[in-house]
Subunit: 336 residues, 4 copies
């Protein structure tokens, strides 16, 4: 960590600051220029509050050299983390494909979709029981009943299930859920993250609409600092000025995150683009740039128009996606 | 609400959709062009899920003409709402000035600041007891003890207090708190909003870093739909590419929100800019464009360097801000 | 095009507007609701100024149903455009790979790189002679001399050359240049676009840092409206809040543009990410989602540290990229 | 300027780099930590290419401490610049109000508006003769004829005129124009900036839609480096995700720019918001936070619906704005 001090800083002030920094367990290296004084802070700075130092009157700016995340940092954990989920895993050699409906609507619906996505090669079933909706007047999900239906589908198909939590008080309902999802809007709901850190469940953490990769990793750190290291990161599009797509899928997040952290990284092309026609090409691109898996919305009943979501694929279209993705994965695994 | 249908849509499909829409209580007007078919949906569309309709295979796009918020809508509530807070109010004739430290640190600190901001013209005391921090390793606030200290300061100075909630399970700690703040990161924590909707406390709802004004109003609607109409909106900067300021203060949100809603709107120039030197000019600008109040960070102890936050004002500087703001308010209240 | 009129609009005003719209060659369909009046405007609206209509006092909002671009619109030109460039092409069956140095620095440098990228499978040589730099004090390129050096490299290797124009007055220098590049900062330099529309040179048009896909297509339309239909679109990253990468590469632009337009679309992963290590995975992702080609920065002299740009690949690393990209292209071309 | 070197860097490499930096006129201070090596570069770094240094293989990152702009830097020019414009000025004691139509349409129109805005207190007449339009099919302005009409209005009213240039080849048409405007889309049209740097005309430089304040100042630097120090900066809204307003007006740019530079800063609330109703409150806010002036769109003929632009004010409404702004200016000029 580097602290740049203002030019008028007195020796006494520098000494006071240096002493305080040393009590925080850091070595302090002073470098004095004609206009600025630079303090190099050496040691474990991951638990130092950079804003606090930057707020000092004599400090011009603070720059981290080491990243502020520790448990998630690849530097201290060079090997890829593999998160075991039921009979499968995320990270490592298995390419995870989580598929299913945006919302669980009925037993018939979820069963039919579960069978279809399993047949098409999905490794897990996803489905929303608690639905975060912008409007209080929109459908909020089947809640506990939705989780029951997912568990029935799990029982029949053997697919582990992934579903979103919105409130730590609901945790008991998630006992048999395999992966608990934290949605984009709750990425910085730190109270929820802390509670999830006390469980040993795999947590699928979605990047917020306006959150940096560093903030995503710091939110993972909240969960890991509590003792739960089973975190799966998910890029699902960020908010920009572009309007043809619902969000802008930031695929460069995949290789960048893989460099920064040992945690697995998956892509949700359905929410990222909001356009079913773009799901296949973006799923292929995600596989090509090194993602550990995908989360894709699939719906079963195109005849019943009200359920054919703008971003949902039919089971047939989804099968086409998995075949294309497998071809890409096979191509990139060939020796150079 | 207008739904544009795709060109190949059959009469049968149009009839099916129209019938369904009529069961939702809407009148449907058909307009047929050479390339597109347009359905005008007339009636109360605020509780219609536009995304659901847009997701229909035969629908090209859906455009709302009426806004999706109802309780917060000025159209159905032309007069400004005045939110009573202890012996003062927000909205109406009183210009609210909420001031105090970012974090409550000690009894001495909060008492001294409370006295100082009261003397300088603050109408309420703000202070953080539960602190949302990006890093789990940063100071998380004094929590329940922090609220106790704020209540002591309230008792002595008579200033109503404003402090942030991060978890609905903590609600009992907020019994004597006058205004409960929902932070930017929790603006779409819908579970928290629903719980706050069951109270009758004034809620200060901050705009999220990447949330539109419409989303802010929909989050207010979550609280109001639960029965609590005491909502104060707060613009505190949005996230953009600019780096000289921490966020970009969107002051045009003030007159735009005042047009859309009857709820009061206040500005937080401290978090918006992250730079103490910019607080005064932006506070004056907020007053000039019609804000109902301000929320400003003030700290008491510039000698103790670690507390002179980059965005905090000293009590003296804060007094200069209130004097300048009063001059602006006086100027704009003159008859034209 | 749909115009929504305000509720108080009188019959006389509606008639006046309808009459005027009819003189613009449009049919007008009226649909009257309880709160709004909707005009459906049928006919060729691509040359109608929507902002002008929206600015009318009686008009609430205007929504285009047809896109405002015509020459670039796939609807009126269903087949992919193939842009012939010397002995090769962009679009169609050939995957274009444009590679070379950010700046042309010397004859030795450009010759060595040209030979290396040709050997590694590049189909064109790129190199900057006129360099747009944020600072007037930074190196501005070798200008005319740089173009001379590129032409020498073209003569020896047979690779067509791509280089950027910043000023229409320089056009005579570009006589033997094969593809003229318009940089991101000049995407809406309409005067330059008009001049390029008068030539018959292939134009590589880069998306601006904060420009929508619609604006990119409207800028292509400026060139095409002048008679030059040889336009190649290039996504090179947009500006967001993320800081780990220089820009955010919007790969969903590829399938979205391919749907909207018949023009070829290429990707520049070097400028998009600003990080050499991310070029290979993003190049593979671009190939996987249907891009027609790539533009990649390659530099020859890693021993001479000052030239090993943060985003430039060595010729060896570049050869690794082309091999990986070829494997992806081969995989996605297999029958389903 | 600080350069952080990677941990594996050898002494030989450090020495090579240090030697090269010294040839650039810099002193180099070395600070060696356990994980990183830090070089403090002391001297005039404003003409150093930070990207070039950052691109070195051994360099992890580079951070400027001094700003890269020099002529525009308040540090080297503490007093406010006053730009003389005909019989008035921008900066200093006069609050500049530039008003007029978005486009010059006819002699009658421009004359009537010129008289009206003068009567209402405008200090200059603005009007578009060359119009940058997103679509090639939209009205592109009256061009040279438009400038003639503005000059007639200048002759009658005595108001200096401000109008936009899009092409340096048109410069001879601007001989009698008082202030030449560079539009947002041309803010980084460096070739145009260089040509304007050779003139001695006041240049009104608008901030680009996605440009940082630093980039705006670097573009001013392009003009000033050519010898023309008469630059007026204009904030006119930046592009964000918000859709209720056309752009997001960044008013904190005013006090931030006033701190960084001695150049005057004005605000264009018309383009920033795109909504006529927001022009008055945002003009008042601009005055309150220290802007040196305003640029406002005014149109004369509300009866002729096609000209009542969504963001244009009637002369009467404009007179209301100037009165309100004068009251704010008077209030903020009072002693504290």
């Amino acid at each position: 960590m580097i602290a740049v001090l203002k030019s008028g800083t007195t020796d006494k002030q520098i000494e006071n600051l240096s002493s305080w920094l040393k009590t925080q367990g850091l070595d302090v290296h002073l470098s004095r220029g004609s206009e600025h004084i630079i303090l190099g802070l050496i040691g474990d700075t991951s638990k130092i509050d950079a804003e606090l130092i930057e707020s000092l009157e004599i400090v011009d700016s603070v720059k981290r050299i080491s990243e502020p995340f520790k448990s998630a940092n690849r530097k201290f954990h060079p090997d890829d983390s593999v998160i075991n989920v039921g009979n499968t895993s995320v990270g490592g050699n298995i390419f995870a494909i989580m598929a299913g409906p945006c919302s669980v609507e009925s037993e018939e619906q979820v069963m039919e979709i579960a069978r279809a996505v399993k047949a098409a090669g999905a490794t897990m079933l996803r489905g929303g029981a608690f639905k975060p909706r912008t409007s209080p007047y929109d459908f909020q999900g089947l809640k506990a009943d939705g989780i029951e239906l997912l568990l029935k589908a799990k029982k029949e198909t053997g697919l582990p299930i992934v579903t979103e939590i919105m409130n730590a008080n609901h945790l008991s309902l998630f006992d048999e859920v395999d992966v608990i999802q934290v949605g984009a809007r709750n990425m910085q709901n730190f109270e929820l993250l802390k509670e999830l850190g006390k469980t040993n469940k795999p947590i699928l953490l979605k990047r917020g609409l306006a959150n940096t990769l560093k903030e995503l990793l710091m939110s993972a750190e909240y969960i890991m600092a509590g003792g739960n290291e089973n975190v799966i990161l998910c890029e699902r599009g960020i908010r920009t000025f572009e309007t043809y797509t619902r969000n802008t899928l930031d695929l460069s997040a995949v290789p960048m995150l893989k460099e920064l952290t040992h945690l697995p990284v998956i892509i949700d092309p359905s929410h990222a683009t909001g356009v079913a026609r773009l799901v296949k090409p973006m799923a292929m691109a995600a596989a090509a740039c090194g993602a550990d898996g995908l989360m894709i919305e699939v719906h079963n009943d195109p005849a019943h128009a009200l359920c054919d979501g703008a971003q949902s694929l039919t089971p047939d279209a989804f099968a086409g996606v998995t075949r294309a993705v497998r071809r890409v994965l096979s191509a990139i695994s060939e020796e150079d």
